[in-house]
């Protein structure tokens, strides 16, 4: 039971990462590798702020801003520097490795004995693991609500059309470079924020904590899509959170099968690969057909 509650909490906290990546991967329609650098960047900034006795709220805000700056740099390299987005992301991600070491001073900084968002009186009073459920739920609800509002505004629509058809967007007067940069800043800001929360949940920041997280984020997005099928944009945003929780359950099951946590990146990659290939399989194996037949009444 504890493990299930913990998985839901982790799923909610990690969902922020999935939702953030959704903005670039699904809406702007390109893979942003900066993520693997901004996630530990957010963690590093938050942890060092906390060890310097800044409040959790300020630490998390700083983590967001640091992520947004990294996103800005990727955006500028891509739009003004004309560097392909994949490479631009990898450049900033690589640069972040050194920056993060500079910020942290060592490859691992513990939050032991520090005041974090989880040490507030209210959260400490909750049953075990429910603190991360509460923090995760509140944060992801606020972020999702803000994004849903944003995407329904004139600016948000201009942002969506930039990913959907940049030629058309420019032909109706939308500055697609600006929209791309704004998208990368918001996305990476949220990824920094996510890193800040995960570090506080784990109790430390580690220089290597970004490795493989793009796969985790993509898994949340893809699982949500595979499980829930055709949805509106708003529903798809919410599906990412549910996908993130499902992903945690899958990991839980796999770990219970006897795999070690060292295998997690391998397992994550396999899960994502399977989910990505699922539409292909279901076509060749006629899974849809079989399932529909199985659900139909016998006449």
């Amino acid at each position: 039971m504890n493990m299930i509650v913990s998985s839901i909490g982790q799923g909610l906290l990690w969902a922020i990462l999935g939702v953030a990546l959704f903005l670039t991967f699904r809406i702007l329609d390109f893979p942003d590798m900066t993520v693997e650098g901004t996630f530990p960047l957010g963690a590093a900034v938050a942890v060092i702020s906390l060890t310097h006795n800044l409040s959790p709220a300020i630490s998390i805000t700083l983590a967001f801003l640091a992520g947004a700056v990294a996103g800005l740099i990727t955006g500028l390299l891509y739009t003004k520097g004309k560097i392909p987005i994949l490479l631009a992301g990898i450049l900033v991600m690589t640069a972040c490795l050194s920056i993060n070491l500079r910020i942290m001073g060592s490859s691992n900084v513990s939050l032991l004995g520090q005041k974090t968002i989880f040490s507030s009186k209210f959260l400490a009073g909750l049953p075990r693991y429910f603190d991360s459920i509460f923090v995760g739920l509140v944060t992801i609800a606020i972020i999702t609500a803000l994004l849903i509002y944003f995407l329904q505004t004139d600016l948000g629509q201009a942002f969506i059309v930039t990913g959907d058809n940049p030629t058309m967007a420019r032909s109706i007067g939308i500055n697609t470079d600006k929209m791309t940069i704004v998208g990368l800043m918001i996305s990476n800001g949220l990824i920094g924020l996510s890193g800040a929360l995960i570090a506080q949940s784990n109790g430390y920041a580690d220089i290597n904590m970004g490795i493989g997280i793009i796969v985790i984020a993509l898994a949340s997005i893809i699982i949500g899509e595979v499980v829930f099928g055709e949805l509106t944009l708003n529903q798809r945003l919410i599906a990412v959170t549910l996908g993130s929780i499902i992903y945690r359950f899958v990991i839980l099951i796999v770990l219970n099968l006897g795999f070690s946590t060292n295998d997690l990146n391998l397992i994550s990659a396999i899960i994502l690969a399977i989910c990505l290939m699922l539409p292909q399989f279901s076509k060749s194996l006629k899974l849809d057909h079989v399932i529909k037949k199985g659900l139909a009444k016998n006449e």
Binding site: T153, R170, S171
Partner: protein, 259 residues
């Protein structure tokens, strides 16, 4: 109205190259001059490679000039970005895929285009409030678009997408409308219907328009001015009665002489 303000667009001595400063350097537009007056409906003819698309790209701003000057109502346009020019220059592409956002609905596309020239802010878009007006506008196109307000445009036919693109280009009454063979990808019947609708809208709203076409018949039938582009310069420019006197035979003769 003063003389200059009637000149919607003026191109002077325009030169563009591809592969400039390389052994493969090729001059596309060769010192081209063109003045477009308010209310002009110009059909543009020319063989492949004559520079028609390049001319449109230069006007829309997606291709910078290598030499020359381009002016809008007397203001220099050379350094104005394509996005800024889109505030007063609208364009319909030949490829139905280019003109609309595939995963967005018909009304979302229309709403986005209706904000042409306005600041896009964090105000709610108010899609529902526009639906009735959109339905009315769509009904004028006569291909059933009004029943597809909430359909993603990727699920529309090519003809419907071009009709939608045309509406999106004209609904804000641009100073200049660029039609880049916008009916070429459609079947003859759909193409004719859209062409008829195009002519009606342009005439009724008195839009200024530049239309590339490969149909000599269309070029003769529509518009009040006809230009022929060849090897990067305008070799024929007729308007009014002179255009009306032009026949297909004479045009073919003219093209024959070029080659």
């Amino acid at each position: 109205m003063s003389k200059t303000s009637a000149e919607i667009l003026k191109l002077e001595n325009v030169v563009t190259y591809v592969n400039r400063h390389t052994p493969n350097e090729n001059m596309i537009l060769r010192h081209l001059d063109l003045t477009i007056h308010r209310g002009d409906f110009i059909t543009v003819l020319g063989t492949n490679g004559a520079g028609k698309s390049t001319l449109f790209n230069v006007i829309a701003g997606t291709l910078p000039l290598d030499e020359g000057r381009i002016q809008h109502l007397g203001h220099d346009l050379n350094k104005v970005s394509p996005e800024r020019r889109a505030n007063f220059i609208a364009r319909v592409f030949q490829d139905p895929k280019l003109g609309t956002a595939p995963r967005m609905t018909v009304s979302e596309n229309l709403l986005l285009a209706s904000k042409r020239g306005q600041r896009r802010t964090l105000r709610p878009r108010e899609l529902k409030q526009h639906q009735a007006a959109f339905r009315e506008t769509l009904a004028t196109m006569g291909d059933g678009l009004e029943d597809h307000l909430d359909t993603a445009t990727e699920n529309l036919s090519g003809g419907q997408r071009q009709a939608l693109s045309f509406l999106m280009a004209t609904q804000q009454r641009p100073d200049l409308l660029l039609l880049d063979e916008h009916t070429a990808a459609l079947d003859p019947k759909t193409s004719e219907q859209l062409m008829k609708q195009t002519n009606e809208t342009i005439t009724k709203q008195q839009l200024t328009c530049l239309m590339i076409t490969h149909h000599l018949d269309d070029a003769l039938k529509y518009g009040n001015r006809l230009i022929v582009l060849n090897a990067g310069v305008i070799t024929l420019d007729v308007s009014g009665a002179e255009k009306q006197a032009l026949t297909k035979t004479k045009l073919l003769e003219f093209f024959g002489n070029i080659e």
